[in-house]
Symmetry: C2
Subunit: 372 residues, 2 copies
Amino acid sequence: MTLHWTAAGQDGAARAGTLHTAHGEVETPVFMPVGTAGTVKAMTADAVRSTGARMVLGNTYHLMLRPTAERIARLGGLHKFMDWHGPILTDSGGYQVMSLNELRKLDEDGVTFRSHVDGSKHRLTPERSIEIQHLLGADVTMCFDECTPFPATEEVAAASMRLSMRWAARSRAAFQPRAGHGLFGIVQGSVYPALRAESVAALTAIGFEGYAVGGLAVGEGQEAMFACLDVTTPLLPQDRPRYLMGVGTPADIVGAVARGIDMFDCVIPTRSGRTARAYTSRGTLNMRNARHADDGSALDPACDCVTCTRHSRAYLNHLFKAEEMLGPMLLTWHNIHYYQTLTRRLRGAILAGRFAEVAAEMAAEWAPEDTP
Amino acid sequence: MTLHWTAAGQDGAARAGTLHTAHGEVETPVFMPVGTAGTVKAMTADAVRSTGARMVLGNTYHLMLRPTAERIARLGGLHKFMDWHGPILTDSGGYQVMSLNELRKLDEDGVTFRSHVDGSKHRLTPERSIEIQHLLGADVTMCFDECTPFPATEEVAAASMRLSMRWAARSRAAFQPRAGHGLFGIVQGSVYPALRAESVAALTAIGFEGYAVGGLAVGEGQEAMFACLDVTTPLLPQDRPRYLMGVGTPADIVGAVARGIDMFDCVIPTRSGRTARAYTSRGTLNMRNARHADDGSALDPACDCVTCTRHSRAYLNHLFKAEEMLGPMLLTWHNIHYYQTLTRRLRGAILAGRFAEVAAEMAAEWAPEDTP
């Protein structure tokens, strides 16, 4: 049986369920920490697991350039390489080629670009992207798509989305089904409801194991993002998992779950962990701030991660001021733990039929320290 | 009862024993990872414990400047601050003032210097160094001494050593005895046997809970270091622990244990861990070397640390090439684990009366890959 999702409960549009994969089951809503280059930055795989995380993301673009997909395949696949034995979702490389690479050249067949590592020339097509994701051993493979720039006129957005839909058909054809593995289509269309609807229709006509909403979290703002979800998720098949790519803040996640999204990934908890920004049940904190220097209390008293149960805000402040690696290590650990606690709490609320109430409670809790 | 050491066995001059401290017992020979600024770099306290390490070192110089000893005391002491609940040895600040600070000014009473952090002016005297170490809550406090430059003429070395002996008496007077805590004297005298003997006589006349051999590992080379130990350790009291400061490579440690040393600290395993140099049972390896890129085998097949049991040499090579923080994290973990395995093996050999044999076995094992 291919990778699939089963419903466990629903509250309004918010869904709780289980994703069944070759590397185990994952409860949804799920937040997937980003393991860009074969490591969730500043975390051991054991530490990632200890946060409750059960699924991580790997980046095709980074891994194809270094250490290369062929090398990872020779070494037994990405799960073994990074000691992550739960499911892995890999992106298609499309987003990174567009956002990280200025020397790209797009044509109907694919994209040619130069490596940011050594300047060497590379080419990604739907077929090659799917091949790479097979080599990595992804549980969830993503269609190769073009990341539509933002802002884009409706004409540009339409042309870009239609190219992605042709690539989606080629991705589907290239994908080799295996038990517990699946291919997700990606809805594009920028902020234009008619284009989003056209994209959903094109993808569902092809048929995928799951559907991602792409092209968001690119600068459009939370309101436009939610508006896009409002017109998109109701069109998606009820029985398939839905993944909002690259999102987001805790408030983004709550709002997206409210609109029927099941899966998330984002660099916010990891990147913020390296830049001293803490996400807590009371809001966000800058751990470099001098007001923490003599504060012996826990970063987040409501949190049971190693950072919050063993160390003080004063210690974190010291580590960041002294530029000690343990600062990013402990704060990344906490931030990922917080995101896992968040999605688990949302799941519990959905199953208890209290989603709106819990979402309001969270928003109120965030207020005192800062806004998330 | 003050901090003390009890013998468990002896083989030639090599000793096995137990150090009894306010924060528990430590089997000797012991290697203490260096926790310079309140963290063993790139390691959580749990990870340090998992290597078998039972005692760590903290640096007075770094901690007095940031976050300050008074702040650490207000926050409950260094043990709580860094979540290390085993014994801690703090150095006196003397070595770092001399080696890291070019704007120092030495007089009979102490040293004035400027902070490398913010340029502010500071002063260390024997009394202030001991006070700082009390504020930190050190189990083992070190006398404040002058680090004699190397090379030094016999005249310069004699004057420097005699100043350190006057400071040792002042350190003893300033030290406030507490159960399970102790003050160690530091033997100086550069490479001159007569000066080393004079220093030992001066210190034993004062009386300390332990004796350190200082002023070595400063560029004199292993042969000169061992020659110095040959003339120094036989003069030290049999019933007190002996600590060789800042040493060293695995071969240095084996040679020093053979000459009656019980305690060691060194930045080699941690610093090497950050610069891709691995210490293994087969010798040292540079993990950036391209020959590891496709090597799916464990870094050290004889090692049961998380790095060696979960990951490949290829993965470590990738992490260092991609400049991922997990590279230094995993390699520091392994290196400290290796040093713990080394001292545990030496202890077992001493208790079994097989020290010379095991030392020779180790030297033979190191040969194949590189020299340690």
